[in-house]
């Protein structure tokens, strides 16, 4: 609750103080919880607990036990403060643009503008801000890296990546599996994305596709949802009622209880997320609508998280209310695709253009996601690297996974600083490959829905109800999907997407 309240108004000193007080106490509460987990797990009745709640619970507890010790409390608290400092710094940005005062989220709207010069101006403003704040952004991250490396060392891990995998509850795959997955993306997805970028360049009629062109796929600009906020909510309500499967009544409950905060405003933190209040069995969705198609994507995405959390609210233990992150993103990203037949409600005649763009950008996201992941593995394998080394590494990885990218006169990202706009790298280390793993699963849900919508929805709802009672690969296989970490999975997904897009 205090975290949400801070994100709703980052300028409020009282809310910030409450969050800081929470950040001081949270490790101590965590310590008490882990102490009892260790006691139960290693005691004579561990098998009894596994038989009642499932063996996965003890595996999750083992991750928690291994990833915390009172010896790292000071580093955990200091790391949280630095994460909050990053959030506050980015949220404090103000841009005067085309007669408006905008924050980063609001400026983001213009990166999709049909006029190339407007896109370039918006991108220049954004990245100039990162250039001006580079020293502070470097300082925050450098301190975080050292604090995280210290935690890993104190807990006996070889490096922070090993600790992060434990913290993320990854019980059924390791960094070698992820390395293989990145290699499969490079082999099967990057060439397809290079073709998509070339098609995009031709469609835009430009000599060279620049970074500020990447969000726009034809000269008409991107489709945008029509209507006021209230009209969009009316359409959302009608959409979920039509989809049924419990989605309609769930959305009405979220609306009537005001568990939605969706519009951008002054002082509100950027981004979108879903959190929950497990005592009350209710989720909360936070977003920053800015008038672009992203509003619909973020909205359906976060409602997917919320619906899963609500569907599994009666699980026998709190550890199963949310799955691990990569599994949780399957619920959110899949709902983005499962709502496709209703996109006429938001985009009218542009709905098919939206659907094609959504799938196209989902594919394009995969190489970017693995770039973020490969970067983080390198950063924590090399914790004594300098800020300059990190910029060089990002440049190298961009050239490998995103070979079409041209930053032109945008000095900071051209120098390798693009990653500093990716908040996960500061606030949620190693939580990013999860989106790509889930995206591959979501594209499989799309393929299933194209064949048999009713069966796909049944599988989706059943998966939501399972919450986090099993590890990632068990969950996705139980829904009839192929694990993205399995050999051959990406070839199948790429073939389906290529066929849909006619590439």
């Amino acid at each position: 609750m205090v975290g949400l309240r801070f994100q709703q108004d980052t300028r409020d000193a009282e809310r910030k103080a409450a969050l800081e007080a929470h950040d001081e106490l949270a490790p101590k509460f965590g310590e008490l919880a882990i102490d009892l987990m260790r006691h139960v797990r290693s005691g004579p009745h561990g098998a009894e607990v596994a038989a009642h709640f499932g063996a996965h619970l003890l595996d999750l507890w083992e991750c928690k036990i291994a990833s915390y010790d009172p010896a790292i409390e000071a580093e955990v608290i200091a790391e949280s403060k630095l994460s909050n400092a990053y959030t506050q710094l980015v949220a404090s940005a103000r841009f005067e643009f085309r007669g408006e005062t905008l924050n980063h989220s609001q400026l983001g709207k213009f990166t999709q503008h049909a006029d190339r010069e407007v896109r370039h101006q918006a991108a220049s403003l954004r990245w100039d801000w990162f250039e001006e704040n580079a020293a502070e952004l470097d300082r925050i991250f450098d301190e975080q890296v050292h604090l995280r490396a210290q935690q890993a060392e104190k807990l006996g891990f070889g490096n922070y990546a090993e600790l992060a995998y434990k913290k993320l509850g990854r019980t059924d795959y390791d960094r070698n599996d992820v390395r293989g997955y990145r290699a499969a993306i490079l082999e099967h997805v990057v060439p397809l994305c290079a073709r998509i970028r070339e098609t995009q360049r031709e469609a835009l009629g430009v000599e060279r596709l620049m970074a500020w062109d990447e969000s726009v796929h034809d000269v008409d600009g991107n489709p945008a949802p029509s209507g006021t906020y209230a009209e969009k909510m009316d359409q959302a309500r009608a959409m979920f009622d039509a989809m049924d499967d419990g989605l309609g009544s769930f959305f009405r409950l979220m609306e009537s209880g005001r568990f939605l905060d969706l519009e951008a405003r002054e002082g509100k933190a950027g981004g979108g997320f879903c959190t929950s209040f497990p005592t009350h069995g209710m989720p909360f969705v936070f977003a920053n609508f800015n008038g672009t198609k992203g509003d619909v994507e973020v909205f359906t995405h976060e409602i997917g998280h919320a619906f899963q959390n609500y569907s599994s609210r009666d699980k026998t233990c709190i550890d199963f209310l949310w799955p691990t992150y990569e599994a949780a993103e399957v619920h959110s990203m899949s709902l983005e695709f499962l709502t496709w037949p209703h996109m006429e409600r938001f985009f009218g005649d542009d709905a098919e253009r939206f659907r094609r763009l959504h799938l196209t950008q989902s594919l394009l996201f995969l190489p970017y996601g693995v770039t973020v992941d490969a970067f983080q593995h390198w950063v924590y394998d090399n914790p004594s690297a300098t800020p300059g080394d990190r910029l060089s590494k990002w440049q190298e990885l961009e050239a490998l996974y995103l070979p079409w990218r041209s930053w032109g006169d945008l000095a900071r990202p051209a120098a390798g600083g693009m990653w500093q706009g990716q908040g996960h790298i500061y606030r949620a280390p190693f939580y990013y490959i999860d989106y790509t793993l889930a995206q591959v699963c979501a594209m499989q849900f799309l393929a299933k829905a194209e064949q048999d919508r009713g069966q796909a929805m049944d599988a989706y709802v059943t998966l939501c109800k399972r919450g986090g009672e099993a590890p990632f690969q068990d969950l996705v296989r139980s829904a009839g999907l192929v694990s993205p970490l399995d050999p051959g999975c990406l070839e199948g997904v790429v073939a389906t997407a290529t066929e849909y897009l006619g590439l």
Binding site: F29, L32, E48, H52, P278
Partner: protein, 51 residues
Amino acid sequence: MPDIAFARIPTPTPTLEAVRGRYEELRAAYDGADDAGARLEALRSWDALRR
């Protein structure tokens, strides 16, 4: 459908002392339980505390 509103959810203000005290009670209940049912009941109460 439950009648629930975000505005009615209080901001929790747990103190370390109160949480630690409750935790120690539940750990003692778990250790002192005579059978599996009582142990699971202690774990369920602990789960409620964590929520």
